[in-house]
């Protein structure tokens, strides 16, 4: 069984973790085409190589980021989400009328 190094709890069996998908920026939900939004929601790049992913240590519900090589199955680095997300996110605009029918 693989070991994943949780930035909060240290190295633990990977059965204690769940995968949360690729780290990818959310496009402005009030702008952009339906197709682009659908791609953001449903598509993963499934990169062969180094990927940046969300992982959660289930017993402590701690979310963090892992960089992993999907070809060699090596976990390269894990770190708290705050390294990437260090500013308060605001959603300014309300979607326009006739929303999302393009």
């Amino acid at each position: 069984m693989k070991i994943l190094n949780c930035p909060l709890n240290g190295p633990r069996n990977i059965s204690e973790f769940v995968w949360g998908g690729e780290v990818k920026p959310m496009p402005d939900p009030g702008a952009g085409s339906d197709r682009d939004w659908g791609a953001f929601v449903f598509l993963e790049n499934n990169t062969a190589g180094v990927v940046r992913e969300w992982w959660c240590h289930v017993p402590t519900s701690f979310w963090f980021i892992a960089e992993r090589n999907t070809v060699t199955d090596e976990i390269i680095r894990t770190y708290p989400a705050g390294e990437l997300f260090n500013e308060r996110v605001e959603f300014a605009a309300k979607p326009k009328a006739g929303e999302g029918t393009r």
Partner: protein, 971 residues
């Protein structure tokens, strides 16, 4: 007497001759000594047939004595497929052979062998695919013949468990290489665990011959065991098998009824090599065994393996076997050496000094069976040509034991499991490890060393390297490498096909040379394809004796070079594991509420809800319908009490609490007044409904949010996921387990609660519907929520879990004069359905968006964002494909449809029923169903296909079904 074949000590190092054990085999009683296996005890009593083969029901006996073949699978009581050469005998044990009709000695189905030529590889594919339906006819016959042993389906679950172990260095194999590695690693300071399948450390030292008098091996083994015992940082697991090597140094080890999960920083695999059978006619019969098996019988179990022997060999080890047989009192009638000349060796010299007959450049090409193939009477020997083929047999040499010592294959499974690469060595004729993954080391014969000095030296080097890898012995000089010496022990072509067959390559599956030749001719020219087509290597021993031979045959058939070929991938487990080992102890964690014992006293019938156990209803199963009905009427007409402790509870605190809920849920919470609650509906990024509950505002910066029983952990995790990105100033705590909860509901609930809650004005004006209060109930500080899932005046009371039983008792006591009765989940489901309230996960599925569920009212229109908002908008913009509606049946006497009964329009499926019940207060069936959008208006009708294809008509009616103006909950 424990057997006519028993040899005196020092033979039989594993035996305790002071203890005699009686057991039964095939209905007869035999005696053995403590330390005997089933196979050794029977051999001592001159019983050599242990089972019959899978396909042809041929008699089979001892092959390896190492627990690594399928010839010795026996049935012990309820337990099928026990390895007779590993399982120790115990007093009164009842053992039977497998795969026979009638008796093991006289199998009435040996006739099947006569039809062997009609059973070529691919037989099923070729024979049963036409005419259509042929497989259905033949299947029962084939199923009856397939499989090994008998399973007692009524057998109880035995006791199995698991243990976690940790080591700096794990050493798999306690032979000379493994012991050397363990000592070296331990002396570097590492904590070492040695896993060894033997009863005593030493591996081949305990059974093979290393010197002229055959005693040095045992002395070395004892020395090794003492050296290991003298080190406190070495732990030895004897009689244990490592069955799998997994990522990051995780090793599965099975001993008895326990599975160890061993995590090691570095591992040394010193699992040794396995002798390989020669392939010739009747090489599978009892009496034909590996040379090492005969040595194990002698030295471990003090069993004389026969009376007259022939040894067929291609290395010095065969000569050592011959010397051991002579020492055990056998007549060795010939040593048949495949090589043109015996290479000089002390063992060869010893055999010459014993005046044994040595026939070089020849092979045993057939074993002559005795009557009924119960054993052998002679070996037919033929000269070999330069190309490795055999001439016609020239001589018959009498023997009842034919030992095979023609070569080895690495027991490299644990290296294969983690992706080690192997390459064929054209000089040693073996597949040897070419590259190993990190933190993994190999030593001894598994890595290609064979001479004892080289094995020990390489063991030391591996132990040193592993300790260093695990962080020990920095700066220490690794032991020096030495020459490997004679490495030519394996013959390149110990295969002598016979024109009349029975030259077995795979004993498990009864596969002969011609079966593999036919498979290759049928076009299966890759070993992985040939394996699956012919089933070679797919039996219980997984190709341990057949995989390399199969590759040799395929290479020859295809005219290819072995260096360009690989053996089939070896995957875990190394030996068969039982489901019991996987399951271990049966842990099914269950959560009980604080009031669980009160429910038991009240006669509750429980049902699972996630991990929780909740009362379904109170009463006997026979009275289920009336119990539920009375509980429903109790709430509608009087007052009822339900345990809602399992509901999820989340405390959301901080300056951004309201903003956070705005983003997580579809509604708006920024303007929600303190002391009020509001429905929450959560959707995922795709816009699907995933949870609901209520948000109670107890302070500007504090919301208490409820979630569904099964959904709360996911909701909590989702909230933390999003805020890991948003960085809002908010703290979320999952307080589900901290609070017990009850819902007191019914027109007289206020009357009851008033007796217990004196610090809060419960009047409708002071504490209206959807209000929330911090109040004292029965002396306990509680959170009071006026919510109405069941559609009556009611209060949810959430109290610290430790006071759950106290508050429950106080309410039941206070309600006694009014006839309060507890109600369960079943009644609650009826009550909520009468109100048309949906249950997430029952009335919604993984695709349901709020518009489909008719919950547009729960979506705030002016918010900049909530999770799922854009996706919902997109889906709604495309138009609905289905809608959830309330319905009743046009024919009032029709039975209620069941959940998932289909809503049909002609031949098309347009939806399904999600909930339906006959309402006691409405006197009719009401339910929820997905229907086509054009059927969703009240008054329209649609068809439901119920059991046995019957179609009934339903009519859309408005929700709520009961108390449409919601007056009762607002009293």
């Amino acid at each position: 007497m424990t057997g006519m074949n028993r040899l005196p000590a020092p033979a039989g190092s594993l035996l305790d001759r002071s203890k005699t054990i009686a057991f039964q085999f095939e209905g007869r009683t035999y005696e053995g000594f403590a330390g005997d296996t089933v196979a050794s005890a029977l051999a001592a009593n001159d019983v050599w047939i242990l089972s019959r083969s899978f396909k042809y029901h041929r008699p089979r006996g001892i092959l390896t004595m190492a627990g690594l073949d399928a010839n010795t699978l026996v049935q012990i009581g309820d337990e099928p497929n026990v390895l007779a050469d590993r399982r120790a005998i115990s007093e009164g044990m009842i053992v039977e052979g497998q795969n026979y009709s009638g008796s093991l000695e006289h199998d009435s189905e040996t006739w099947i062998e006569m039809f062997g030529r009609f059973l070529p590889p691919g037989f099923y594919y070729k024979a049963f695919y036409r005419p259509k339906g042929a497989w259905k006819f033949w299947e029962p016959f084939i199923r009856n013949r397939a499989g090994l042993g008998k399973v007692n389906t009524a057998a109880h679950h035995g006791y199995y468990d698991k243990e976690y172990l940790f080591a700096d260095v794990a050493v798999i194999g306690g032979g000379p290489a493994g012991v050397a590695a363990a000592l070296q690693a331990a002396d570097a300071g590492a904590e070492v665990i040695v896993v060894d399948d033997g009863a005593q450390l030493g591996g081949s030292l305990t059974y093979a011959r290393f010197d002229s008098n055959g005693r040095s091996g045992r002395a070395l083994a004892e020395e090794a065991a003492q050296a290991v015992a003298a080190r406190s940082n070495i732990r030895v697991l004897s009689g244990a098998v490592c069955t799998g090597n997994f990522a990051d140094g995780w090793l599965a080890v099975i001993r008895g009824n326990r599975m160890y999960k061993l995590r090691a920083k570095a591992s040394v695999i010193a699992s040794g090599a396995l002798e390989q059978p020669a392939v010739f006619r009747n090489n599978d019969l009892p009496g034909v065994m590996l040379g090492s098996a005969a040595q194990r019988l002698i030295r471990h179990y003090g069993v004389r393996p026969g009376r007259e022997a022939v040894v067929v060999t291609a290395n010095a080890d065969g000569y050592a076997v011959a010397a051991d047989l002579v020492a055990a009192g056998l007549a060795v009638n010939a040593i048949v050496d495949l090589r043109p000349d015996a290479q000089p060796s002390p063992h060869v010299t010893a055999a010459q000094q014993l005046d044994l007959r040595i026939i070089t450049g020849s092979a045993a090409v057939e074993a002559v069976p005795t009557l009924g193939k119960r054993g052998i009477s002679a070996a037919l020997v033929a000269a070999l040509n330069d190309d490795g083929t055999a001439d016609a047999a020239a001589e018959s040499i009498p023997c009842d034991l034919l030992c095979m010592s023609v070569g080895y294959t690495s027991l490299a499974h644990l290296l294969h499991h983690v992706g080690a690469e192997f390459a064929y060595n054209d000089s040693t004729h073996m597949y040897e490890p070419a590259s190993l993954p990190a933190h993994l080391f190999a030593a001894g014969s598994v890595a290609g060393a064979h001479d004892l000095d080289a094995v020990v030296a390489e063991g030391r080097r591996a132990g040193s390297a592993a300790a260093h890898d695990a962080g020990f012995g920095a700066g220490a000089e690794p032991p020096a490498p030495i020459e490997r010496g004679d490495r030519h022990h394996t013959h390149r072509w110990p295969i002598f096909p016979h024109k009349r067959g029975r030259d077995f390559v795979d004993f498990d599956e009864d596969l002969q040379v011609k079966d593999l030749v036919h498979g290759a001719a049928d076009g299966y020219d890759d070993i992985e394809l040939l394996k699956r087509y012919t089933t070679v290597g797919m039996g219980p021993s997984q190709g341990k004796h057949s995989a390399v031979a199969a590759v040799r045959i395929l290479a020859k058939e295809m005219g290819r070079d072995l260096q360009d070929m690989k053996v089939t991938t070896q995957r875990p487990p190394f030996v068969p594991e039982k489901f019991g080992h996987m399951a271990g102890r049966v842990f099914e964690p269950g959560r009980r509420t604080a009031m669980h014992h009160r429910h038991i006293e009240l006669g509750a019938k429980f049902m699972p809800a996630g991990l929780w156990w909740r009362p379904a209803y109170y009463g006997k199963p026979a009275d289920r319908e009336t119990a539920i009905r009375d509980e429903v009427l109790g709430v509608r007409n009087n007052v009822g009490l339900i345990d809602v402790s399992t509901l999820g509870g989340l405390d959301v605190r901080g300056p951004d609490a309201a903003e956070f809920l705005n983003r997580m849920y579809t509604f708006t919470y920024t303007k929600l007044a303190v002391g009020r609650s509001r429905y929450v509906l959560m959707t995922d990024q795709a816009g699907a409904v995933i949870d609901d509950g209520v948000a109670c505002r107890f302070h500007d910066e504090h919301f208490y949010v409820t979630a569904t029983t099964g959904g709360v952990d996911g909701v909590y995790r989702t909230m933390l996921f999003w805020n890991a990105q948003w960085r809002l100033n908010v703290d979320v705590a999952n307080v589900t387990a901290a609070y017990a909860g009850v819902n007191i509901a019914g027109p007289r609930s206020r009357e009851v609660l008033q007796k217990l809650c004196t610090d809060t004005d419960l009047s409708p004006a002071a504490f209206p519907y959807l209000g929330v209060r911090l109040a004292t109930v029965a002396g306990v500080p509680c959170r009071l929520l006026r919510v109405g899932f069941v559609g009556e005046l009611g209060y949810e009371i959430h109290m610290p879990a430790h006071y759950g039983e106290h508050v429950w008792d106080a309410i039941m006591e206070a309600g006694k004069p009014l006839g309060i009765r507890p109600f369960g989940v079943e009644a609650q489901r009826v009550l909520r359905l009468e109100k048309g309230h949906i249950i997430i996960g029952q009335d919604t599925d993984g695709l349901t968006h709020p518009y489909e569920a008719d919950m547009a009212w729960a979506i705030a229109k002016g918010k900049p964002f909530f999770v799922g908002q854009r996706s919902i908008a997109i889906q709604n913009g495309k138009g609905l494909t289905r809608k959830l509606v309330g319905f009743t049946l046009t024919d009032a006497s029709a039975p209620p449809p069941e959940e998932c009964h289909l809503v049909v329009r002609g031949a098309d499926i347009v939806g399904r029923v999600t909930s339906a019940v006959r309402s006691p207060v409405l006197g009719k069936v009401v339910g929820l169903a997905y229907v086509a959008p054009d059927q969703a208006e009240p008054g329209k009708s649609f068809d439901i296909k119920v059991g046995r294809g019957r179609v009934i008509q339903a009519q859309v009616i408005p929700i709520p079904f009961f108390d449409p103006e919601n007056k009762r909950q607002e009293m």
